[in-house]
Symmetry: D2
Subunit: 138 residues, 4 copies
């Protein structure tokens, strides 16, 4: 299994009046981590889109176990949990560097589509992308 690690430094704008990171930022960090994961595989998500394939999110799940605060240094660990000809599922864990605690886990399910957001069979239309990401699951 391939796992990438992405560093996040918490921005002031990401905090809320509870003094902690607002929960809506984690899906954005998952996405930044996904971008890095794909790059670590030797592709780029920009490049996948240029070839006409999109990965709109169809399901999102987060579990918040701890809080991050302004200026905290975090690590998002990312891997591919599952891939099929029509979908791909990523899994994420967010750790706080100061005490190595796991503060959030997440999962995102994406559909393979064309530019008009219609489903495509990625195994058939881009076997190279499918194979590369399939290797990441093992």
């Amino acid at each position: 299994m391939i796992i990438s690690e992405t560093e996040i430094i918490v921005r002031y704008a990401e905090t809320d009046q509870m003094g902690i990171v607002h929960h809506s930022n984690y899906p954005i960090w998952f996405e930044a981590a996904r971008t890095e994961f794909i790059k670590s595989m030797g592709m780029s998500y920009s490049g996948i889109e240029e070839r006409g394939f999109m990965l709109p999110l169809i399901e999102l799940a987060c579990r918040y176990k701890g809080a991050a605060r302004y200026e905290d240094r975090l690590i998002v660990k990312t891997c591919v949990k599952q891939i099929s000809y029509s979908k791909i599922t990523f899994y994420y864990e967010v750790y706080k560097c100061s005490d190595n605690s796991l503060i959030t886990t997440g999962e995102t399910v994406h559909a393979w589509t064309n530019r008009n957001l219609k489903p495509v069979n990625i195994k058939k239309h881009a076997p190279d992308i499918f194979e590369l990401l399939s290797k990441a699951v093992l």
Copy 2:
């Protein structure tokens, strides 16, 4: 069961380069809808916080079935799915007004805590809040 309806007009900043609303905005809309739901019950979330009770999110789930676009008018329907002395679960449905289609559903689970984000028994410490929100479930 009590259901509140909150209107959202999609902002340009909420779109992404796919030309649709970025998925990270839905949790923010759920929160705006939750604010209105609580207001419709005759309380205000600000008021709950002033009394020293917080509702940090501990779980988030979204299913995206359709896409919203810039200037679209949406309705978020909100209800309480479950409440206990320690937690409360809200459920949301987002409809596109133009064709009345259901584009997203979501669920958020929150813990009742004090200002230091330590768990509190809301049934014991604020029976009025607990009872009011319990009525919403029925």
Copy 3:
């Protein structure tokens, strides 16, 4: 001079750990207000874009005189300050409804471009849009 008024209810996600609205939200509210302003003129910004004209922002200025907080009800007043064949300048004032105080003023300058973000002479290529918005200045 034509002025439109747009209501904003402050969202929790828009607050920061200072307990007030984070400054980066005002430009987003200006944009939502601009959308309503254009709609109040009998056009829609979506429609302008569909005809191939874009209005990327080239200058932004804000002055923050007071703070808004979660659940505050605000009014953004919007008008066109200046228009030429190549540019348009909007001016905004944000008022807090509770005490009618002016908390923020802003100005945005936009260039008229085509879909590839190259400058276009809007007076020549879309005289109807130019005339309509010119009327708003007077």
Copy 4:
């Protein structure tokens, strides 16, 4: 004069339907860069806040000369333009790494306040902070 450099990788969520970075992200990047600038001076903004001093933004100005896109690598150069007992002004330049072009410049003016957002004389109440940041201007 002291200048810090902060790397930003453009996130998907930061793009809009024009296919470029939405303008409201630059003030957030300025803030992240400001955080790093202060850290590079041997302080931390968190630490300044813990001592009871806040730096709410009172003026913001941006000039957008070029566009950034998803996955672009950017550098934000930050310096202190001016400091007085009551205010501090930061200046920013954002460069695109691929062609070293200057795409955005910005300026933010902040007031020195206490926790209740009332003005304080920083030269008097925290001469160490004032002196350190004054050195950055020279």
